[in-house]
Amino acid sequence: MEQIPIHKVGEFLLVSVQVDMHDRQALILQNDLTTQVVKTRAKGVLIDISTVDIVDSFIGRMLGNMASITRVLGANVVVVGMQPAVAITIVELGLSLTNIHTALNVDKGMALLKTLVNKSTNEGRHEPFEK
């Protein structure tokens, strides 16, 4: 089972999920990501799921969990490139995932992450929810 790579880009981490994740793979990714965020003291995490076609309730929840965990560790999370079918599935499964930030592509995600990080730095504390 291939491992999902986590790249360090400046002060951010870039996770590029290029396969339809198994449950175990998702759990491993969650562990890796947590460790990496602590180790690199990253300020933001970008999860690119543009090549993921299938998502079930477990993977959907894992995405939400990863976002929550990362936020507890003081970093912002942006999920980018979700496919229409995946978005419809998640909505129909009733997984609100309202607590995660999203963007259309990596470029826009990076920009959003930068503004989010700036904002939390300026406020002197971490502000995960944007109302």
Binding site: V79, V80, G81, M82, Q83, P84, V86, A87, I88, I90, V91, E92, S96, L97, T102, A103, L104, N105, K108, G109
Partner: protein, 289 residues
Amino acid sequence: MTANSSSRVAEIFTRYEQPILEDWLREQLAALTARQDLISEADLRRQSADLLALFIPACRVGSFTDITTPEWKSLLDFLAGASRSRALQGFSPSETATVVFSLKQPLFTRLRQEFSANAEALADELWNATVLLDKLGLYTTEVFQKSREEIIKRQQEEMLDLSTPVVKLWEGVLAVPLVGALDSARSRLVMENILQSIISTGSSMAIIDITGVPNVDTQVAQHLLNTVLAAKLMGAQCIISGIRPEIALAMVHLGVEFGDVVTKATLADALAYAFLKIGIVVTITAPHL
């Protein structure tokens, strides 16, 4: 008995093919006086002659009580083709079935001449012929109806496609003007169209305009809300615009809520909001006239 009678009818057909065809054509033309604009006499003649040419050999070998056997296949295919084209041309079902039913008169006349001495045989033959022609007539009606249903289905699909256009208002701003009632099937299509367009155009704002939606109940609101949530997951923001005063009133009475989705009264307001969000400033350079 059946085999015998079928051969007798076939025999009569073979012997009187030409006069039967003439009588039959006359019958059909009389029945279709008002429909001469849809089919020409020459076409009708050719069609009838072809039909008769297929009918006679089938009569000779096929059973009169069961038209599902392979002997009748070519005749049934021909009838199906004729009914289908008539359905497309706008004939009524009875006009289509008349093609077959009007064969009765000429056939029965010949049968009466042939069996004038034997009343019992005549009755038998008439019964057999009636059973067969009724079956064929009903078959044409069935095919006719099926073709009409296909046409209706196709038109419905075309209407669905037509009714959910996604237009690009500006770089990064999409608009979806919805017209007509929103049911589950349509909302699903609208949802897929919007999401697909968001991906293909890379737009981060989408305006759903519901000016043309006659009423918004809890179900429609739920559909719209799902679309907005799905778009948000993909990284785009949706604005719902075109909420007429009476709709707003009805929504509040029903307790319909759009949550924290941005709603605007007009498409113009929504566009202004979208511009604000993506940082576009519109300046008026010409003074108002």
